[in-house]
Amino acid sequence: MPTGRLAVWWIIASEIVIFGGLLASYVMYRLAHDAFAEQAAHTNTWIGAFNTFVLLTSSLSAVLAHQAADAGDGPKAARLLQYTMGGGLIFITVKAFEWTSEIQHGFTIASNTFWSFYYTAAGIHAAHVIAGVVIMGFVANTARRNLELQRVELIGLYWHFVDIVWIFLFPLLYIAK
């Protein structure tokens, strides 16, 4: 396996256990406390669903960028990566409004254990989205000049991982009421 891809897989492996530990803790608490369901009822499923849609769609252009990079078309890959970055930015913006509204309704990180998990898990995930967007900016910048095209695939791998984490978070935090 190419060295870069191997390294990204190892990064993802170590990230899986970080989120795994957090989500396992959440599930244990969720099973022990029925009150979590009442609290989860205050989250807005539609906003969560919209964000899920945006994030998953942004992965499509990451895949197309990988395809373009494989074909040696750096500028096209860069353009497609920018769509993905746009998706990430929409995700973060929506989340900012969502959190603002929730905090104004009095649901803060210190309200109770459900909301502590809600902000901690989604917050760590959002940090990964932001980091992904920033790194993707650098990758797109070199790819535009047809340099280091293998990086397009690597950032794509990471982006899909960030997607998958959200696919776990969305049902756990929004749907299971």
Partner: protein, 556 residues
Amino acid sequence: MAVHHAPESWVRKYLLSTDHKIICFQYMFTGMALAIVGGFFSYVFRMQMAFPGMNVPGWGLVTPADYNMLVTNHGAIMIFWVAMPVLIAAFGNYLIPLMIGADDMVFPKINRLSYQIFLLSAVVLFVSFFVDGGGSAGAWTMYPPLMSKDEYSLTGTGSSVFLVAIALEFVAFLLGGINFVTTAMNARAPGMRYQDIPIVVWMIVIATVVFMASVGPLVAGAIMMLFDQQLGTAFFDPNRGGDPILWQHLFWFFGHPEVYVVLLPATGITAEIITVFSRKKLFAYMTVVNTAIATGILSFLVWAHHQFVAGIDPRMANIFTVTTLIISIPVAEMMFVYIATLYGGSITLATPMLWALGFIFTFLIGGVTGIFLGASGADIYLHDTYFVLAHFHYTFFPIAIIGAFAGITFWFPKMFGRHMNETLGKIHFWGTFFGFNAIFIPLFITGVLGDHRRIFDYSNFPELTTPMMDGMRQFATISLIVMLGFQLVFLYNFLTSLVWGRKAEKNPWLANTLEWTTDSPPPHGNWPELPTVYRGPYEYSVPDRKDDFWPQNVPS
């Protein structure tokens, strides 16, 4: 490939280098410097244990708050800032590329970043000593509510800064670990199959994988703990729906594999040394690899044996008793393989060999006393006594100190191109070896007789302040001072040998592995021409050959 390098400035060459050998030295010297801090802390609180209320020379009066801060940081420093950087990062950095025939790590810049973050974590740790309230007093296991509530630890800010330091340290080792695993998988010399990789490289790589797979929950836990301290969340606060036991699970899910993360490299170093100094093939190469993998996997299934008295379900305690006793099987098997390797060999008791044998001897005592603690019934009595303390020092000291000295004395000629003084090396070994045993054998006894780990002053416990108990505590403390004194011999030997030591040739120990086929010290890029591998690393005393060693890179 020969690479010509223009002369570089000192800063560029030693501080901002991407060369794996220089990064090894950075990790090693940082680790050694912090070992001095950790050793000094142990001296201060041991003085308080032996002579309560004494004005300790070099520190002053030890208050209860001081005492908690000292034991917390002694433990954390010795594990996170000494054992990890020296055993994994320093030896991993030095040995992986040189032993697999690569010119450097596959990601040299990530490697440099890894050390820089590690150094930052050490700086942050030092900052925690000087914030309001002083360094963290939440114990190295950081159990809530002691760690999460200011009113219990009395070190609110220090505890948070401490958590940040630990988190940075994990980031550094995750970055380094990605490099180690990827390099070992992808950069081996032509001809080097998996079964030709030296055992120490296997061990460091398996340890790295175990670390990467176990640290995640604690990273998440550290964030949760930091939020509990600073943002008012209640993840671990039972009054508000949290669960303090959850922290213990998150911590020990990492904390117990961590024991094996540092153990495996030390056993690997031992394997290299005993084969060279008994001139014998390793008794069962694949068995050692398989036991290491088995140890790594089983290490994920034993964590709750730290929690037998924490109120976990007794049925769960039974399961963890069984898994804990099972993990001693592969480790014991590994030790038997080493002893079998020694059997019938032509043994030379050079300094590195003494350390390797000392490792096997002391670690076996550590392992055997662990059986008592792994059994939940016995543990209920022994839990949190000095018996536990003596047990885990009998595992960690052989690993982190004896193992590290074995490696340093063995590879010193390669690292610095000079020999260390053998006589001083042996004096240092015997002083450390006897000193160590004299510290902890009495503490096994005081532990069985009831000394609890967290007591700052036994004066109010008449049954624990008999002349015999006081005498054993004082004996242990004096032994500690003697043992610390012998470390000056090492420092003197190390520093003078750097400058005046006898020049070392390429292969002073007549060993087989690839690092001995290049110059001492190796140039940037390691070899003018990268080597090719033709055989396994332990072909010693092969019949019908003139030499009793057969380097991996020599064509048949």
